[in-house]
Symmetry: C2
Subunit: 335 residues, 2 copies
Amino acid sequence: MTKTTTMKDIDEVLGLSTSTVSRALSDSHEINIETKKRVLAYAESVNFQQNPMAVSLKKGKSNSIGLIVCDVANYFFSQVIDGVDSIAYDNGYHLIITQSHDIYQREIENVNHLAKRHIDGLLVAVASSTFNYDHFSQLHDKGIPMVFFDRDNPLGDIPSMTIQTYQSSFTATEYLIKKGAKKVAFLGHAEHLSTTQERRKAYLDALEKYGLNADASLMKYFNYGNSTSKDLEGLITNLFSADNKPDAVFIASDRLSNACLLFLKKFQENNNIMLSGFNNSDMAELFSPSFSFIRQPAFELGQSATKKLINLIAQKTKFDEDNLQDLVSTFHPYK
Amino acid sequence: MTKTTTMKDIDEVLGLSTSTVSRALSDSHEINIETKKRVLAYAESVNFQQNPMAVSLKKGKSNSIGLIVCDVANYFFSQVIDGVDSIAYDNGYHLIITQSHDIYQREIENVNHLAKRHIDGLLVAVASSTFNYDHFSQLHDKGIPMVFFDRDNPLGDIPSMTIQTYQSSFTATEYLIKKGAKKVAFLGHAEHLSTTQERRKAYLDALEKYGLNADASLMKYFNYGNSTSKDLEGLITNLFSADNKPDAVFIASDRLSNACLLFLKKFQENNNIMLSGFNNSDMAELFSPSFSFIRQPAFELGQSATKKLINLIAQKTKFDEDNLQDLVSTFHPYK
DNA sequence: GTGAAAGCGCTAACAA
DNA sequence: TTGTTAGCGCTTTCAC
């Protein structure tokens, strides 16, 4: 159990002042090159580690980025986290990850918790049950830069980073129709979400292109935030046992795809219902019943959102905004 | 952009000293109950947030726990992270997560990075390519408590938190034999790992129970750490195209299960090879070809390891050690 | 029960 | 180029 070395220890040994040591370590220019070398060499030899708390306190920044996701144990978000971390790490930031479980109240708690930790910036996938954005704008007004990702946000002065899903959604619906589906249902996350709306638009456009009528009774929405898995099971049962039963479903959400597939596997083993929809699992092509899926560039989403945030923190274009790639989801027909 | 409130601001308004404010906020007993109420009320009214960096600096602890996993975007580890976070959060710790990608060099970088951040404790799933534990013992000697999880470690003074997988591995192998398999192959992660050895023992015992001979050419090991996916594909191709082809495989690792299933799906659609093995995906029961799987209590593993670590940090039995549940994996035959 | 003062480890004016 | 000094926001002796 050895005491940790501080700059004070170094200057004592080397006969310098702490500020000189500090200059050497921070690669300042107002210092003799030889002195710098001497300090660096000694610091290295004793395996000196700066105390990040002291630096943070002094500089007034915590070098941490807050990240609010719905669930860590969700493949889409795991990949986002991976992407966020890859950029954050390289820029000296560490992550404080919290989970909202898609619940408004939890999201507020998350924001408060992160505010306490004095994060330098915030990355958030808004909960589907969030309609009031006050907790965000309050933090933003305090000068904490933030970037929303995955879903759009109504706050004009805060950027959103999203993935284009119109085209793949259109293709996925079209695929079902070309395979012979006459009654394609739509299963989506909360109706008000920008993602749901974009994907529904694509679904409706595809129906129209092939002269199929949209049928409101075949369009279902499920809001995870304030619902139980029983509710979800009820919704799906309802969809598949109605008189007006669909022969195919386009599923506009990762988790709904999972739920729907598990349901069909369990209760409707030998059905002929065709499915296509969103899923980011690496294993999606193994799913049975067969499932054509849309994969989103989640890792890249995390990266782009983080670059944008770090730009905002630095108040300058550190990452070239023009180089931020357009993020597009891709369709993978079942083979 | 409002300035953040500090204790100084509070004592000025209330006509108290900073130390009194500090006492009120830290719920000290050597303070007048009325004074405390007054401070608390005012602090609340101005939404005062303690500066965690200042507290950390003063107290000499960072309130952070380092976590080294192989990959964030791996379902087993996502669930572990979820479990770790649930306990850490409740105890005022935040997580600094790093990924080793199962590579020894990355693990060393991770440890150095976490040491720089002055973590209060470390949780680690050792990389499969790690044979030298010096980077860990060096940190441990500096007084940083640590707990290994998932895999055992050879350092006598550092605890490991693992999951019992013997029984489920035995059952999974037995299942294949009962279904008629005569030549059951074994596919495992690096041979030296404690997990691999435990599972192989179960596999061999099951073979023996049913009078089947172990065949070294049917036992393959794959070390992720320093290999490419090409290597893996080669290994699997080799296994399934040998003269002495197996009619079933027991797969002793999550990721190998995925790889093997994807391979069979891609190249051997209509084979009759039976598979059982480890997989923590919620979707495992959807996999085709059919797959009987073993699921590990990953969330609980994260929780237990974190409780143990926090005990070590506190140097006292904060969580009752006797209450730490035995962690056992479970077998789920394909239905 | 409360205040004054020192100091955690570092950075950044300001002097020299 | 280097040293001196003050102070980031907080906790904690030590007086009173």
